[in-house]
């Protein structure tokens, strides 16, 4: 029933308490949190640092703007609506296309204009934000997902989560939505996590609800054939967030756009622990290696180091 805690420690598995005290507490200064908790701020600062992000169409800050929503959405076929301070994907509305007066969600559900107005109204009144603070709704261009993922995602948004520790990419996984997760890339809700080899971007293991799977439960494709394109660019993008956010322990969520390549979707100052299960590797071992590295290396050097040291080795796992 229970795993032996000493064995877990020997494997270097990071637990929630240790994460909170030794990684988040020690490396993430709280004053930098608003930057990542507020997606609008993240986007602005990332853009100014030359980091690729999905384009912001418009922000909606007041309920009164909802009256002109029709005009605002004029000529925009696909878009993403999200609260700037939401967490865990709450309140995000993805519209893939329009048919006449109706808006079609990624899962095929049809919405009217007033449904969208209601969602924005909820966002503005703070329903999805931490502590119920009034919020701003962001209208973003729809990412045109690289078709490479079509086989590994059901109705949704596949994204790549890279954990960077002190600016080094330490661990990565692909999060694939399933029918069970309702098109969301949230592992809690039944999305599949696929561990990725830091050296190559190839799939290592896949897990759903903490148990190993070999094929996508809905599309039936074998995860072992999966290889992420633009891998080094993805790692570079993730690693460069360190300079921008000053957060030593960071989860970087990246999507692959068909035309634009990797884009940063979101940053997370409190990334979860399931990535270890998807990689079948304890995170602490890698963090310890990084802790022994000298500071002040630039992004390219850090990425190179990670790719050399954290790749799949024979016998590992």
């Amino acid at each position: 029933m229970f795993a032996n805690p000493f064995k877990l420690k020997k494997l270097g598995i990071l637990g929630m308490n240790k994460r909170n005290i030794h990684y988040i507490g020690a490396h993430n200064d709280r004053k930098y949190y608003p930057l990542v908790d507020n997606k609008l701020k993240t986007k602005i600062i990332a853009q100014s640092a030359g980091i690729a992000v999905p384009k912001l169409i418009k922000t909606i800050e007041r309920q009164s703007q909802l009256r002109y929503l029709k005009e605002i959405l004029e000529g925009i076929d696909g878009f993403v609506l999200k609260p700037s301070q939401g967490s865990g994907g709450k309140g995000i509305l993805v519209i893939v296309k329009r048919e006449g007066e109706e808006f079609i969600k990624a899962n095929g559900q049809r919405l009217e204009l007033r449904d969208i107005q209601r969602d924005i109204s909820n966002i503005l009144s703070g329903l999805y934000s931490l502590g119920g603070k009034p919020d701003i709704a962001m209208l973003e261009t729809l990412v045109e997902f690289d078709p490479i993922f079509d086989r590994y995602s059901y109705e949704g948004v596949p994204d790549i989560r890279v954990i960077t520790y002190r600016g080094y990419p330490a661990m990565a996984m692909l999060r694939c939505s399933t029918r069970e997760s309702d098109g969301k890339a949230n592992l809690h809700q039944g999305a599949v996590g696929v561990g990725l080899d830091i050296a190559t971007g190839k799939a290592l293991f896949a897990v759903q609800h903490g148990s190993p799977v070999t094929h996508h439960p809905d599309t039936g494709y074998d995860f072992s054939e999966l290889e992420i394109p633009h891998w080094e660019r993805i790692l570079t993008l993730a690693a460069s967030c360190y300079e921008v956010t000053h957060l030593g322990y960071l989860g970087v969520d990246i999507v692959l756009d068909k035309n634009l390549g990797p884009l940063i979707l979101e940053l997370n100052a409190r990334p979860g622990l399931a990535i270890q299960i998807a990689n079948r590797t304890g995170a602490v071992k890698r963090y310890d290696v990084i802790d022994r590295q000298q500071a002040n290396l630039d992004v390219a050097q850090r990425v190179k180091f990670s790719m050399e040291h954290f790749g799949r080795k024979t016998g590992e796992g």
């Binding site: 229970f2 877990l8 637990g15 308490n17 030794h22 309140g91 007033r114 329903l127």
Partner: protein, 509 residues
């Protein structure tokens, strides 16, 4: 200093301070650590009787002084028609009754309540100069002086130190067949045994004083005070019973009078008599605390909750329990890894359960939250703004609650009536949070977090409603420092949670 070390240090200081105050209160002040502990309170009554002779009567009685190891809780005088006053004299405090033109048999009553304090008895009366004055025996006839000196010489040869000397002397005076010398002294000196012994000892330059007191036991009536000699050997005072010789200072021995003054003086009446009675009753210590009888004596207790008005005390009775609930939340979240909706919502729910009962509270909670979720989901389709919607949910919650109370009253289920006090804000917020969770994360998460909240709330309820916990929370609020220390310590715990041992099970295999 590293943060880890700082946390350890703070933990240690807090825990030490908390335990030290508890030790002081239990060991020194005698506040019981366990609830329902009882303490003996003795009622000591003096009954003075005399017969009036159509004259003014003045009655003066020696009153006990405050003494080590005993606490006088209250005193009471019953003397109809007599004026009563307490006066301070050189020999100590005295009670005085007075009345003009007294006819016939009269009775005066004086009583006090005594509590024996815990801990070792350590007498530390200083020696007053009058006790150190030496005796000369010169007022005795010559023949008696010689007899006394011979007796003392004889006793001295049979003794080794002050204590054995006193013991031997008393033994001589208490023997069934006393020696010739003792017989002569008792017969001709015209003094009582205690006065004579007192004289002889002082003649030997031994510090000694006369004490009259009584043993606090249950239900004794018509007793007289036991005379005792208190002898100082340069280090300790030692009590000597005039019949039995040396006695170990009994914790039950209550000193009524010290010194040579008379116990009672009655002028203007005849057949005056005084007798004492002792009665024991068991009093829960809680009552003593609440009546502030224990409180007034120690400065540390002067700052305790018992000095507050009763209504404020009652409020703190609940508030002081919250930290123990918080401790349960910390344990179950950090060490076990249960997920709850909101950090301290479970404590609030547990507080609500304490107002109802657990079973009624649980049923009501699940019913109201369940019905609230249904109504909330309809309200959300009406497109309301957030604040308006929460308010609407709250009103609906109140309606459901009142309806349930009325219905259950008609059905004769009384427990549900208390539910009206169920904090409705908590319920409304729970419904709101749960419904958002349902929309965003699905029903599974609602059951995980809702179930987690209820499990933690039930655990917190059991801890907070435990009589022992509520007793120590109210009587030993300094234990909150220890709770704080434990919480800080757990806050530095970076090991695995119990749930993670299950979660990462597959990694080991």
């Amino acid at each position: 200093m590293s943060r880890r070390l700082q946390a350890l240090l703070i933990t240690f200081i807090l825990a030490f301070t908390g335990f030290f105050i508890v030790w002081y209160k239990v060991g020194v002040l005698g506040i019981p650590f366990l609830p329902h502990e009882k303490r003996s309170v003795y009622t000591v009554g003096a009954e003075i009787s005399f017969v009036g002779q159509k004259k003014s009567v003045l009655v003066s009685m020696a009153l006990p002084e405050p003494q080590e190891g005993m606490q006088i809780l209250s005193e009471d005088v019953a003397s109809s028609g007599f004026g009563y006053a307490e006066g301070e004299t050189k020999e100590g405090k005295r009670a005085e009754w007075s009345r003009r033109n007294v006819v016939g048999p009269q009775k005066l009553y004086y009583s006090l309540e005594v509590l024996i304090e815990p801990g070792e008895y350590k007498p530390k009366h200083p020696i007053t100069p009058s006790e150190q004055e030496t005796e000369t025996l010169s007022d005795l006839p010559n023949i008696l002086q010689d007899t006394a000196k011979n007796l003392l010489h004889d006793v001295r040869s049979r003794s080794a130190d002050t204590h054995s000397f006193v013991a031997q002397l008393i033994k001589d005076f208490s023997a069934k067949e006393p020696s010739q010398a003792v017989k002569i002294l008792l017969a001709q000196a015209g003094e009582t045994k205690i006065d004579l012994l007192y004289r002889l000892l002082r003649y030997r330059k031994i510090s000694v004083r006369k004490i009259h007191g009584l043993f606090l036991e249950s239900a004794r009536r018509n007793i007289v005070l036991t005379p005792m000699l208190d002898v100082y050997d340069g280090k300790n005072w030692q009590l000597y019973d005039l019949k039995k010789g040396k006695v170990i200072r009994d914790k039950n021995f209550f000193v009524w009078q010290q010194g040579s003054a008379s116990l009672i003086e009655v002028t203007g009446a005849r057949k005056s008599n005084i007798s004492f009675s002792v009665n024991e009753r068991q009093v829960p210590v809680q009552n003593l605390l609440e009546k502030k009888e224990l409180v007034k004596k120690a400065a540390i207790l002067d700052f305790s909750l018992f000095t507050l008005p009763i209504s404020a005390q009652n409020a703190y009775r609940h508030i002081l329990l919250v930290p123990f609930g918080a401790l349960v939340v910390v344990l179950l979240r950090i060490l076990v890894g249960l997920r709850t909706s909101g950090t301290f919502m479970p404590v609030l729910i547990a507080l609500a359960f304490m107002e109802t009962t657990l079973s009624a509270g649980l049923i009501m909670f699940i019913l109201i939250v369940g019905m609230g979720l249904v109504i909330r989901s309809y309200l959300s389709s009406l497109n309301l703004l957030l604040v308006a919607r929460i308010s609407a949910v709250m009103i609906v919650v109140i309606l459901i609650m009142s309806f349930m109370s009325i219905l259950s009253f008609k059905l004769g289920i009384k427990e549900v009536l208390t539910v009206t006090f169920f904090p409705m804000i908590i319920l409304a917020w729970t419904i709101e949070r749960m419904s958002i969770l349902w929309e965003e994360e699905g029903a599974r998460e609602v059951f995980i977090q809702g179930g987690g909240s209820l499990i933690v709330a039930v655990c917190a309820y059991f801890v907070m409603s435990d009589p022992f916990v509520s007793h120590i929370a109210v009587n030993f609020p300094e234990l909150l420092l220890v709770v704080l220390a434990v919480i800080i310590m757990i806050g530095r715990y970076s090991g695995y949670r119990l749930s993670e041992l299950i979660r990462f099970r597959s990694m080991v295999e």
